[in-house]
């Protein structure tokens, strides 16, 4: 079943808990402005690799790594916006 954009945000929150092991309450409190890369110690380059693959599998999208720049993981909002754009493609 294709993902509707509204459920993308929920999936991203689940991913942050599952892949990074961040506490569910911390993830639930995140807003668009919550900084990620540099602010979440769990989010290093190794974790990013797993996060991208799991995002592809769960959202049924393909991510071309050339699309990825430093701003993708800047904030929770930027990550959700990227995922939503991919799901619409």
């Amino acid at each position: 079943m294709p993902f509707v954009p509204d459920s993308v945000e929920t999936t991203i929150r689940e991913l942050l808990v599952d892949v990074l092991g961040v506490a569910p309450a911390t993830v639930a409190a995140m807003t668009d402005d919550t900084p990620l890369f540099g602010a979440l110690p769990e989010l290093d380059s190794m974790a990013v690799a797993g996060l991208l693959t799991e995002m592809e599998d769960r959202l049924e999208i393909m991510i071309d790594d050339d699309d990825i720049d430093g701003e993708l993981f800047e904030s929770f909002g930027s990550l959700v916006a990227f995922a939503k754009a991919k799901v619409r493609e």
Binding site: V17, D18, V19, G21, S45, M46, A49, G50, T53, D65
Partner: protein, 231 residues
């Protein structure tokens, strides 16, 4: 008293490979095929705790070391999913497995010995495992100031072994991972996280973690399944 671990071996391709056993006196002997590559390390503690709990419930289990992994004398770069599938068959035969339980990438190599009931937890596609390793390699190269691409790495991997996220993988392994999917087998019980087993996907975590409740849930499920499902 906590169940005692026993170390045994199985022979494959001229090497004695390690297995860790609990509850060897039981009539049930569940061969556990762990996740592959780094995911194996991330799950080992949780799995061994599940094996102890299984032994306390009266079911024996055997955790397999694959050729080229852990203390194995075999070279990892000489392995492929095909050799690992054969190794699983060798271990199942030599150690008298009555059941087979695989996790994640373990489900890609559990289909050689199909005369025993199979249990799978969150099977993984080979392409996903490979992609994460390639991404990790590219990220590492980038931090070292080197630009590498997926296409470039895959081209290199056709000719010679390449190092991906700490694993030296030969051309056959990379080629097989690209297309591998868990195969359909007859006596299969599929378990998903959050639906059948409560717990966290420790195989995805880069920080080693433990989940005692998940170990207990896996042990309870394997015990019930193996008691009712006889090969």
């Amino acid at each position: 008293m906590s169940p005692r671990p026993e170390f045994r071996t199985y022979n494959f391709a001229g090497h004695d490979e390690h297995v860790l056993c609990f509850g060897t006196g039981s009539s049930r002997r569940i061969l556990i095929i762990p996740p592959l590559f780094e995911e194996m390390n991330r799950c080992r503690r949780m799995l061994v705790q599940a094996m102890r709990a299984l032994a306390e419930r009266g079911a024996g289990s055997v955790l397999l070391d694959l050729p080229g992994c852990n203390e194995s004398h075999a070279a990892l770069e000489a392995q492929s999913l095909s050799t690992w599938r054969e190794a699983v068959v060798a271990a199942a035969t030599q150690l008298g497995a009555t059941h087979m339980a695989s996790l994640r990438g373990g489900a890609l190599i559990d289909d050689g010995a199909v005369n025993v009931p199979h249990w799978r937890l969150v099977p993984a596609k080979g392409s996903s495992l490979l992609k994460t390793m390639i991404r990790t390699r590219i990220a590492g190269d980038k931090e070292a100031g080197k630009q590498t691409s997926e296409a470039q790495l895959l081209a290199e991997a056709q000719k010679a072994p390449i190092e991906l996220a700490g694993n030296v993988l030969g051309p056959a392994m990379v080629a097989e991972l690209t297309n591998a999917e868990p195969s359909e087998i007859v006596q299969l019980t599929l378990r998903l996280l959050g639906q059948d087993i409560a717990g966290s996907p420790l195989w995805l975590r880069t920080e080693p973690q433990d989940d005692p409740a998940m170990s207990a849930a896996i042990a309870a499920d394997l015990d019930q399944w193996s008691a009712t499902c006889v090969g």
